[in-house]
Structure formats: C-alpha cells, structure tokens
Symmetry: C2
Subunit: 247 residues, 2 copies
C-alpha cells in the first residue's frame, strides 16, 4: 500500500464544492471516479479541508492510499489528468509516509479573495472576482485587515449549521493588495471555519465604506455575535491558494 | 438625432468576436438587438475596432445614433444592461458631438495579454489567461518587449487574409508586469493589425525561452516575413483594455 499526496487546482464554478454529496458534482467525487477508472480500485481521496460550492483552488492538497504498484508516484498526476474534466487538474503527485494526512498534518492555509469596485458588473472580472459597489481605499482596507491577525475566537465568523465547537483560530497574515483594478485579500491561518473568509471579506468592506465601525471586530471576538458583522461575500472571488505542511 | 458614446465590457468566451456575422453570436449583434428592443428603432453600433472570437474587453468604445429623445444620455447604460446577456455590460453612456466616431477618432488603444507559466493547465487561471510551458524571466521578457516600441512596419505581424495595405503602426508602450503567478503584457499603440498582439505575444515567449533570437524582431520589420515569428498566442488571454480619444 502506498500513500500518494496530490496538489489539485480547480475552477469551482460548476461544482457543489469539494466534499462528496448525494446531489450535484463535487471535486472529491470527480477525483475518486478518475482514480477508479485508472486503478479499478475504490479509493478515498482525503482533502486538506472542504471548499464550498463555487469556490476555486490553486493549490488544494489531498492524499489517497492505493494497492497499485505499477504507476510511478510522480506519474499519477498525468494519468489522472487524462481522466479528469478540464476544470480539475492535478499539478503534482508524490509518495508520502503513512503518517502524512492531508487534513490533520496541515499547518497553515492561505486563501485569496479577489474583488473589484464598480457600480456595474464587469463581465471579464466576474470570472474570477466579486464586485463591491462601495468606493474604498487600499490603505483603509489594510488597516482593517490587520485587526484579524492573531489568535481569536472566530465563533461569530461562522455560518449557522456548523458543528465545530472549538472556534479559536490563529491568523498569521491578513492583507490586501491591488493590481490595477483588481484587489486581492490574502489571508493565512492555522485553520478556517465554514464561510469564515467570506464573512471577514464582507465585514472589511462594510467597515471600509463606513457602514460599520472598526470596533465591531474586537467586539465580535468577545461576544461572538454574527449579527454585528457584514454579509457573507459571494463564493466566486474565493480561492484556496495553498496549504503548508512541515517539511 | 443624438449620437451616444458607450463604454462596453464583455467576456468574449462565448462570442464569435465583435463584428456582426451571419453565423454565430457577436457582441455588436447583441448590442444592436438590445437597442432594437429598447428603442424599436434599427440602430447601427460602431465599435473602435473588432475584437476576435474569444477576446474580451474591459473598455471597448462604441457609438450609435438614435432618434429617441426621451431617454437621458447617461441612462442608456442602465437601460441597455437590462436587455443584454450577463456577459456584456455597458459601463457608461454619454452624448457626444456628431464629429465623434468610435473608430476614426480613436488615438490610442491598450491591449492586455494575461498569461502564466506551467507544465499543466491551471483551471482557475485558464478563465482569464493563457498557459505557456516555457520557463522565462520577467527582466528578459521586458527587454524583448521594448523592441516593439516605436514606429515600425508590422506587416509580418498580421494573419493572412487581412486586406489592410498600410501596415505601419506606432507602439507607445510595450511592457510586461508580474503579479504573483500571473503575467500581463500591456501594449499601447495608435492601432493594431489583425492578430498583431497575439503574434507579438507568441514571439516574445519564443525569444524569451531561447527558441528564437531577439534579432528577428528588427529583421521582421524589414522583410515582413510572418514565418520568422512565433505562433499566434491563444485568444483567451487577450483583453481590449481601453481606447483613448482627444478630450
């Protein structure tokens, strides 16, 4: 039995997220089906974590175990890509020790949230970014983003229905860059709750345009009230950028 | 009769380019149909120039003449957007003098070509950029790009079938920027031949990775031989960024 680690990139537009579910296509399902066609073996693919419906990934990480002993570990990427739809690609595959676990061994994740500012949809940007109609300033955005850095109870930044009980997470970096008309929120942490990045994004925008006061961030860490915060920003701006493991 | 100037943004993926044609949807057709539904008047929409099949625009400019005297000039944008498919949006509309002509009055156009470097397709980037498998360096790319600046005969940078006789164009700026893993060629000139930007892009990559020598650029301006140059790069990285007119 070998354990193979894969780095997966996908355009999430046409999928109901990562996790296998009864109704609707998911990335995990597509990978397991491709592995079945390749290996004639039922294989479970374990991801570093779920991504929601419509969310994309540049560097999602997953692992699977296989009894196959003929395909060289680094060749799984190419062999899987031949079986996968165009909007999912395995960028690399390598053998790892049986102690490696894509979810439990993950030390840090980085998400990007792409957005632009306009009163009207810009169709070209809509393919990879979310529109906000507010006029906001990059310096102001970064001042707000910095408030999230550190170890906090993010219980307020979690959509209802989540069964997670420990809602304390550490954010190592939270900053916003601008490249021409596109803005990118880059956020790195030891873990993220369901919809956490999208709620942080919506809250940053609401504060930046003056709808809410910056003090609600510190308040939300204490009283964990979702109602204090901004809307959950749309899925199409969100990308799982990378997952870091110990060397 | 009023002449209205519009700025149009579109995702060209599902269109056979700008120009009305018998088979296949085009942006110009969609705009003229939307105007007909709005005004019950047959109106021709004149663009600053054609964009090819699959090419997008952030700031295409066009004009049309209308006998309608009830819709305020600035309200055409919103009224048209209600009639247009999601992948075409009018960003603004303003009345202009009858001397204004979207094509003939244009002084400068800027195109962007987005690309990334990878051995494997990255589905998220494929939505807005073209993949090159070569490994190239940003400094080297810019050294090559600079060679195109100036007034040259671009006869070699033109797909066969073009009926244009004067192939001299002036390029004011040609440079490449990098934002994380995405590269953008930005090129501004007084006009562009059919496929010119895509041939320039393909040629820059071939030179940067050592397949061709930088001297072919100067040679191509003299002997106008298309065969000297690189492949025509794919359409999906190309965006008409803006069109400049005299104030």
């Amino acid at each position: 039995m070998r354990r193979i680690k894969i780095i997966v990139s996908y355009d999430g537009t046409n999928y109901c997220g990562w996790q296998v579910q009864k109704n609707g296509n998911t990335i995990q399902q597509e990978l397991e089906s491709a592995l079945y066609r390749l290996l004639k073996e039922k294989v479970s693919v374990i991801g570093s974590g779920r991504t929601d419906s419509g969310v994309s990934a540049l560097g999602q990480v997953a692992h699977f175990d296989t009894n196959n002993d003929t395909i060289k570990d680094t060749k799984f990427a190419k062999a899987l890509n031949a079986q996968l739809p165009d909007d999912i690609r395995v960028l690399s595959s390598t053998i790892v020790s049986n102690n490696f676990h894509a979810q439990h061994s993950a030390k840090e994740k980085t998400y990007h949230y792409n957005f632009y500012l306009s009163d009207v949809d810009i169709p070209y940007f809509e393919k990879i970014a979310t529109r906000f109609s507010n006029q906001v300033d990059i310096l102001e955005l970064n001042k707000i983003a910095k408030e999230f850095v550190g170890t906090h109870d993010f219980g307020a930044y979690c959509s209802s229905g989540s069964s997670v009980t420990d809602t304390v997470r550490t954010i190592y970096d939270c900053s916003i860059s601008q490249n021409d008309r596109l803005f990118t929120l880059s956020i790195t942490g030891n873990g993220f709750l369901y919809n956490m990045v999208r709620i942080i994004m919506g809250t940053i925008i609401d504060i930046a345009c003056g709808k809410k006061n910056i003090s609600i961030i510190k308040q939300s860490f204490e009283n964990k009230k979702r109602t204090l915060l901004g809307k959950t920003a749309k899925a199409n701006g969100l990308v799982l950028y990378s997952v870091r493991y110990d060397k």
